[in-house]
Every structure is written in C-alpha cells, then in structure tokens.
C-alpha cells in the first residue's frame, strides 16, 4: 500500500479540519469585526432561496411588510454596509393593516428616505450639523427596500441578524449589486467613500446607486 493511512481515518481527519477551521473562523469573527476584512469575505458561499428570504423578512418585520413578488429582482445579497457580513436587500410592500406599526417611532427598524439623505460636506472639516428631515412616514402604496444587515459568518441568515433599514421612495428598477470599487467615480470632491457593495438602480428615471454613508443609506445619481 502506497499510503499507510486507511481511508476512513483520512475521511475523519479531513472532516475534523473542515469543521474545525469553520468553528475557529466563527469564533474569531464573533470577537472582533476586523477593519481589514475586504468586501465579499464571506466564510462560505450561499445561494439564497425564496424561503430563506421570506424567513429573514418575517424575523425582522413580522407581518408589517410582504415581499413584492412582482419586482425583478425580488432581492439582492451583498455586503452593503461594508462590515464583511453578507446583507440582504428585499423589495417589500407595506401591510396596509399595519401602517401604524410600520411608522411607530419605536419600531425595530430604521426608516429612511435615501433620496433625501442629509450628508455632511466631506470637503469641510469643522461644520455645524445640518438639519435632518423628519422620519419619513410609510404609506400603503409605497414600494420599499428592506435591508437586513448580516451578523457573523452566516450573515443575514443568522437568527441574531435583526438590524434593518427600511428605505422609502426606493421604487426603483434594474436593481443590481455592484462592488464599490467598480462604481464609476466622478471628479466631484464630494464623491462619497463607498463601504462594501452598492445597489445600482434607476430611481425615478435617474440612474444611480444606493450606498451606506456610515450611518444611513443615501442615493447618489450618476454623473453627479
């Protein structure tokens, strides 16, 4: 025999190495979110199923929203806030019977209108914070984009992944995930620093992208 190790022993050894490395990675990730983590550094590839997406939406929003099955695509995966965990963006519609809960100031999600995001001027150093618009109110006819931030190697699938943003006025078309590094940059000195992936879309006839501005989502038109 060329190799003295029996096949079952080799199989056990390989299984041990595989699961052991995964457990070590999960433990390290849980202790420290490394600032060095590049985008898409997901621990393992995973293909989202409609059922998994449905469960994630229900986990965060309960019955307050429903997935918009007419949208194409219905959902996107990506690292939208640049923390190294896989996030989920789903096109949803409000449940008309739960508008009060959707707009509750104590809701478990943060509601924003990315087209009206007030951003600080990165060309200025010391500045007084501008007046932020009031929290947008969701109406029954809105089409929303729900973004669930991932947690740990399992990303948005993790039962603990419940941090969510509900973006209003994102009734956009042609949604695609785009790595931040591939977004065409303008010469405007106010061009934002992009964390992770962006969602390229056409919003009210204007092509642009949704991006994480560090504490909120914002929309930036192309060629701006």
């Amino acid at each position: 025999m060329l190799f003295p190790i029996r096949q079952p022993t080799l199989l056990i050894l390989l299984l041990f190495l595989f699961f052991g490395s995964y457990a070590a990675a999960a433990l390290c990730w849980q202790r420290t979110l490394s600032p060095l983590a590049p985008a898409h550094s997901f621990a393992r590839p995973n293909k989202a199923t409609p059922q998994a997406v449905l469960e994630a939406v229900a986990r965060v929003f309960g019955q307050a929203v429903a997935i918009d099955e007419t949208a194409a695509p219905t959902f996107l995966q990506g690292d939208f806030n640049g923390d190294g965990a896989r996030d989920l963006a789903v096109v949803v519609k409000p449940n008309p019977a739960m508008l009060t809960a959707l707009n509750d100031p104590l809701a478990n999600w943060i509601t924003e209108d990315p087209a009206k995001a007030v951003l600080l001027d990165p060309t200025k150093r010391v500045q007084k914070l501008p007046v932020k618009p009031p929290r947008p109110m969701v109406t029954k006819d809105d089409v929303l984009l729900a973004i669930v931030h991932g947690y740990g190697p399992d990303g948005w699938r993790n039962p603990q992944a419940r941090q969510a943003y509900l973006l209003r006025n994102s009734n956009a078309t042609n949604l695609t995930r785009l790595p931040g590094g591939k977004v065409p940059r303008s010469r405007d000195r106010r061009f934002p620093t992009l964390h992770g992936d962006v969602i390229h879309e056409v919003l009210q006839g204007q092509a642009g992208f949704l991006y994480w501005a560090g504490g909120q989502y914002a929309f930036r038109a192309e060629n701006k």
Binding site: T32, V126, G215
Partner: protein
C-alpha cells in the same frame, strides 16, 4: 411571559449586572464613598441673575485651586477667544474651547463636528494622511485631523482625494471629567475583564494604555476622547490646544506647521500665578461637577421601570451605572497628579465603561490604540443625555430608538433583547434615558 423568557434566557447577564451593582454600592458604603456633587453650574460668563431653571451660578465641586487661581479664572480661560497675538493657528478649527464644548453650560457637549481622514494601505493598515499646503512647498504629515481654518491662505489644509476614510465626530462633554480622570485604571481593567463572563463572550471592551505627556515615559489607561486617546486632562488640554487652536504649550511645543507663523514656541506662557492656559483648562475640567439627573423625571414610574430594564437587557454591561473613583491621595498620571479629596472616593454615574468596543459604528480611524481599534469607539457616557438631540459619535441619529438600533457588533444580542421588548417597555427605557 416575555420578561420571564428574557430573564431565563440571560440569567447570568441579569445576575451579573445586579451583582456588580451591589458590590459597587456595598464597597462604596464600606469605604465611605459619597456621591459626587452634580449640577450645571458653569453658565457662560458666569451670570448671577436671570439663571434658567436647572442652571446654577458658577461653582466648582470643591476642588482646591492652585495658589492665585480661582474657578472663575479657570472658566474664563476656557471661554477666552484666542487670536493671532496668543498664537492662534497657523491652522486651527476654532478660537475657544467653549465654542465647541458648550451645552447647556460651558463644558457641555455641542453639535459641532470635526472631520478626521485617512486611508488603508495595501495590507489594510490605517495610514494617517500627509497634507500638502503652500502650493505643495510644505506638508503636514501623519495627522488624521484636518483643520478647517488657517491664518493665511497658504496654510489652508484641503483633504486629498486619496483619503477615502472620512469620519465625523461630535464634540464631547467634559463636565465631571475630573472624576473620570480619578478612576483607578485597575477599575476600568477589571470592568473589561468581567464583560465576557457577563455577556456569554459577546462583549469584550478593550483597555488601552496611552502616554501621559506631563510624565514622559509613563502610560495610563485611556479614557478621554472617542478613541480613548488620553488618560490625563492636562495631556488632553495640551493636545486640544495645539490641534484645535494651533497654540503650542510646554507639553506640545511644536506647531502643526510654520507656514505664516509669526509667534515663537511655546506660545502658551505662564501667567502671574505661574499657570499656563493648559493648566487653567485642566483645573477647570477637574473642578466641574458631574452632569445632574433630572430628579423629577427620574422619579417617575416609567423611568424607574426603564432603569431596571436597562440593566436587565444588558445595556449596563457597557453603559456602567456606577463607578467609584480612587481614594484621595492616590498618585496618578505618572506621578504628576494626586487625587484630591474633592475627587477621591466619589461615586459617579457616567453610564459608560470608558472602554473601546466594536458596535458596528466604527469609523475606521486608528489613533493611540492598536490596529484593531480602528473600528472601535469609546462607550459614550450617557450622563447628561437629555441635553443632546444628535446622538452617536457622528450625530447622525436623532431619535433615541434609532440610536439604539444602530448598535450592532458586540451589542447585537443586547439590542435584540431591546427589540423583543413591548412598546411600553421601550418607552420606559427611553423615559429613563431622558432623565439622565
């Protein structure tokens, strides 16, 4: 029933928080620790009449002033508007400490933000920028803070496009910081060591040692600044004086740039009492009282219930409710300062552990700590929170609920506990926060 699930799902959390609080109070009582004096008693320019409700006339916490100095003199230095004759610039952000630290009284927080920039190298390590000024003839190297103002156009800094890491930070409250300075570093270290066991390994605050400028070669547990970059109020004063106003001192004797500079270093010179401005700033901060609670709001049933919930769901693991300062006579800051009776053995309620945590809101800037601190921020002290309308380090959150929901990372399970609360319970927590 939901509360029972919470308790049983995190029994160690609830018990640990209660145990820590009980031990802290028992130890304090045993050692004769008393509550630190509280009050908003530094109104700008020290008026003695027409004071608004809740604002007291200028008075200190009993800190014994150096010979020839008074609390009023210290406050006037803190409020003083600097100019070219004092050495303002060449690059600076504002002309007075109180311009950024003032709400509702001198020394409080404000909505003024500051920008820091940098980039990551090919290995992912943070690099502070080198800013070229004077048409490229001069440079300001290795400095993440970029000043907004200059005393001449040639010295004006402009952020290079290469600096893709950009973060805004609000000014901080300095009221009560004398008591924070007087916390024994071992106390903070012990809090950090206990957090993993209190949280099932989810929370692990980072304790870093930083230089004490007035005692060269000495380090101490950092506790001041969004990145815990300072442990000593005198060091912080000197740092802020040169970086925010461009005025050099004996502890920071070199200006950021010499372009357009017309004064000689150090620009901060002792007065007739032998005290420089940085001494007055440090003494002022050491002599301030801690931010007071709204006693009426705190006594409501909602706030009382909210206080219990705050502990039960785990917020208090990081937003520590009570800390006792070191005993009077303790020598700190590398021998440069002795904790006086006014600051020693006092119980304070900062609602902070003064440690660095990754709660998903990190700004990517590394300062005094190691590389892993780039995405960590100091736990924001919640005392005086009712005086703030813009929350988190960047001031981006306006609603209390939104600020809470922005916590992730180490705080994920705590915030998920919050999400599981009823509307009534969430309102109770917010009522409690609004009483601070």
């Amino acid at each position: 029933m939901n509360m029972l699930r919470l308790l049983y799902s995190r029994p160690s959390l609830y018990l640990s928080a209660a145990l820590v609080l009980a031990i802290a109070l028992a130890t304090s009582a045993q050692n004769g620790a008393t509550e630190a004096p509280s009050g908003f008693t530094t109104p700008t320019n020290c008026p003695t009449t027409n004071l608004p409700p809740g604002i007291g006339a200028c008075s200190s916490n009993g800190f014994v002033e150096p010979t020839g100095d008074t609390f009023a003199i210290d406050q006037s230095h803190f409020e003083e508007q600097e100019d070219l004759t004092n050495g303002l610039g060449p690059v600076y952000n504002d002309k007075s400490c109180a311009n950024c630290h003032q709400n509702p009284v001198t020394g409080g927080i404000s909505q003024i933000t500051e920008l820091r920039v940098g980039h990551n190298d090919s290995n992912g390590n943070f690099v502070a920028p080198t800013i070229f000024i004077n048409n490229g003839a001069n440079s300001i190297p290795n400095r993440s803070l970029v000043n907004d103002r200059a005393i001449c156009p040639e010295a004006q800094e402009r952020t290079p496009g290469t600096e893709t890491i950009r973060t805004f930070r609000t000014s901080l409250n300095i009221l009560g910081d004398g008591f924070v300075e007087s916390i024994d570093s071992n106390t903070l270290f012990a809090i950090a060591n206990n957090q993993p066991s209190q949280s099932g390994g989810q929370i692990a605050g980072e304790f870093i040692q930083v230089p004490v400028l007035e005692a060269p070669g000495n380090n101490r547990g950092g506790r001041f600044g969004w990145k815990n970059q300072h442990a000593s109020l005198l060091s912080f004063s000197a740092d802020a004086y040169v970086n925010e106003m461009g005025i050099t001192s004996r502890l920071q004797p070199t200006d950021t740039t010499t372009v357009c500079k017309t004064t000689s270093d150090p620009e901060d010179k002792p007065d007739s009492a032998g005290l420089a401005d940085i001494d007055h700033f440090a003494t002022f901060m050491r002599a301030t009282k801690v931010p007071p609670r709204d006693a009426v709001a705190a006594a409501t049933s909602d706030a009382i219930a909210g206080s219990s919930l705050f502990n039960q769901i785990g917020c208090a693991v990081c937003h520590v409710t009570a800390i006792t300062t070191a005993a009077a006579g303790t020598v700190i800051n590398g021998g440069a300062f002795t904790v006086p009776a006014s600051l020693g053995n006092k119980v304070i309620h900062p609602y902070s552990d003064f440690l660095l945590h990754d709660v998903g809101t990190g700004d990517g800037i590394q300062q005094n700590g190691p590389a892993d601190t780039a995405n960590k921020m100091r736990t924001a002290p919640l005392w005086g929170m009712r005086t703030r309308d813009r929350l988190m380090h960047d001031g981006e959150s306006l609603l209390r609920n939104d600020a809470i929901l922005r916590h992730a990372g180490e705080a994920t399970f705590v915030i998920n506990n919050y999400r599981s609360l009823s509307t009534t319970q969430k309102n109770q927590i917010i009522s409690f926060l609004n009483s601070l």
